[in-house]
Amino acid sequence: MNIQRSTSRTGLASASLAISLALVLSACGPDVTSPSEQPSTGAPEAGESAAPSTDPNMLQAPTEASPSGEITIWDRSGDLYEVFDGAIAAFNERYPDITVHHEAVDIDAKLQNTLITGADVPDGVFLDDAKVAGFADFLWNTADVLAPYADDIAQQKLDVNSSSGGIYGVPFDSNPGLLWYNATALESAGVDATTIQTYDDLLDAARAYQDAVPGSAPIHLEQSPFLGQLQLEMYASQLGTSIADADGNLRLDSPEYRQILGFLDTVNSEGLGTRAEYLSPSDIPELENGNQVFYPWAIWFSFAPQQLLTETLGDWRAMPLPAWNDGGARSGAMGGSSFVLPRDGANSELAWLFYEFLMFDPAGYAAVWGPNDIYPDGLNTSIPSYGPAADPQDALFAPVDALGGQDLWLVATDAAAEIPGSVPTPTWWAGAVDYLGNDLQRMFDGDLTPDEVISNSTSDIQVNLVDRK
């Protein structure tokens, strides 16, 4: 009896301890509000403008004559990391008392958790434009510090960095869409690519090339759902539209998207398209063997002729994209990145000085895009989004040997000037790939019509992403 009483007392004590522990632990974590309360994020609400004098998230530039401190800057590993690393010396000539800890980080994998936990938060981060709005709650509003430069920054870059009345990134590059073409192959086939003004002209040129080179499929059709959606948005950008409007409302169901999808469907159904993932093992041979001679893509395709397309070295050229309508814009934005400044960074105001130097100071942007140890002829996979830096008459990078000595700077800066204004990228943009990106591929498979792509994607995105924001 004593043993049983002792056992039941022990069990009761254990159960009580477990319940108490559960209650204590459950108190940890974020505050939970009821559905009627709006959770406060610190950022201005949709529709509100962030008044500089009242927005607690507005970054202010340092006022000291010689600011000092240490900053931690995150960049993705790769060539751009090396380029920015090389520019630190030039920055320190201007700001000798700021020490830059430059770290190569898998930003996509680490940033979200770092910002949520607030542990070891960097002062500045390189981030895809499409992701800036999603992290706005954690970032400084840079509208005030950007104000002196805003009139000269490409409107599209300001727009994609804007969210709820604030600007949450420092625009880095402009990525104008261009029409890359194999001039040698086209000339051999008797097709003059320079006469292409509209997408109808492009179709005609592709048909003529196919007649001359039977079995060819001249125009690239992207097979990756993510990049396919990105390319679709490039086409949409040309037409001054995008997947969602400034309020985050879907606008896929529009004449613009019907026109774009109609064009892509025509390319596919007439057998004029080579369907492959961007620069994949399936794509590169088709570029080298003359099967695929038109590649509507961002300026960063320039990497391919210089590094990958050894057999067609010197054959490729770039020109502005065709227009959707006579006299229409000859370029749209495809991708792009900016720099963001986390509010939890210890010295984010000093990190602003770093980015201000790189983007808006002649010595800075020359260090990035001009000749350097990494790129002796300059960085030519993007151009600055800051007007004075992207002067067509004052090239930062040299003509590209792999493009037959073409002045890519002139082509790209002229094209970028035609990109219409835009709106912030919705936070659910990447999630839309499961719907719109996949449906686009299904259209290429012949399973969906353009109208079905629009109706299916609209419905799925609305239910699964927009309504669950």
Partner: protein, 292 residues
């Protein structure tokens, strides 16, 4: 007397003191995350500010979501493609390696274990190249036999078998080790007795080896079931969950919620997965437990 009492109470407390470090770590890294996740699963939280209480909304969304059930279905199909095949291969390999007369046994053991220790991402990248539709080695071999190109990674029909093959190639060595250790615990006299009774090799395998390995096989099945339903890196690197979500496994679908900062739904998703995988594991344990 007082010193005896003190000594006695120290002896009673001592075990608790010894397990305290484990308990602290267990509370911090297992219990707390579990409770945090449970609480999160009833909220809409994107990582900043207060979380909004939504009750069962996240669970309701998932249980009525075709994508959620599709991801479970994908994991289920992968399970069917992987586990039976892998068990047979691993068992035969373990029996082979257990044979004392096998020459170069060390070489075969290394050959089986090398894939397991190779970095998964590197192997997955090789898979992308080897199984490429137009220029991959696999289709080149098939073409040599007059078989047209197969869209291994680009069609919904073949993407799952291609991933299953990767998983089998990568992890069978580990299962071989598990089964081999079980084999080596079987008394050799049982085989002798069976041989004396006229049982051939296959008969001995089926009537002696397999029954006595039931517990080990059960362990391997439960382990691999967990691995299949948590499978993430393979579809992430090789197919990005495509084409058309056909290789979006339960683990990959969960990852999508988290990367899109839909943390409440992700938390609910993880709890549903725990329940489903636990239920499956209990089924297998019951089916495969020895009949003694």
């Amino acid at each position: 007397m007082a010193s005896l009492t003190r000594f006695s109470s120290k002896r009673r407390i001592a075990p608790y003191v010894f397990v305290l470090p484990f308990v602290v770590l267990f509370l911090a890294f297992s219990v707390y995350p579990l409770i945090f996740t449970a609480r999160l699963s009833f909220t809409n939280w994107r990582g900043s500010g207060a979380a909004q209480w939504v009750g069962w909304d996240n669970y309701q969304y998932l249980l009525t979501s075709s994508q959620f059930w599709s991801s479970l279905g994908n994991s289920g199909v992968l399970w069917l493609l992987i586990i039976p095949v892998q068990l047979v291969i691993a068992l035969l390999a373990a029996v082979l390696l257990d044979n004392a007369r096998l020459r170069a046994r060390g070489f075969y053991r290394i050959a089986f274990i090398v894939p397991f220790v190779m970095p998964l991402v590197a192997v997955a990248q090789i898979w992308v190249v080897v199984f490429d539709t137009k220029y991959g080695a696999v289709n080149a071999v098939l073409n040599a036999f007059g078989i047209p190109d197969v869209g291994w990674l680009t069609t919904t029909t073949w993407s799952k078998p291609a991933l299953a093959l990767l998983f089998i190639w990568k992890t069978t060595g580990f299962i071989v080790i598990i089964l081999l250790s079980g084999l080596q615990s079987i008394d050799a006299s049982l085989y002798e007795a069976a041989e004396l009774d006229g049982a051939g090799r296959l008969r001995r395998l089926w009537s002696v080896t397999v029954p006595l390995l039931r517990r080990t096989i059960m362990f391997a099945v439960v382990l691999q079931t967990l691995a299949v339903f948590q499978m993430f890196a393979e579809p992430f690197v090789v197919t990005q969950g495509g084409p058309y979500g056909s290789t979006t496994t339960a683990g990959y679908y969960l990852y999508n919620h988290i990367t899109r900062a839909d943390l409440g739904t992700g938390a609910a998703n993880s709890f549903l997965l725990v329940i489903i995988v636990m239920a499956l594991s209990l089924v297998f344990v019951r089916m495969l437990r020895p009949k003694d």
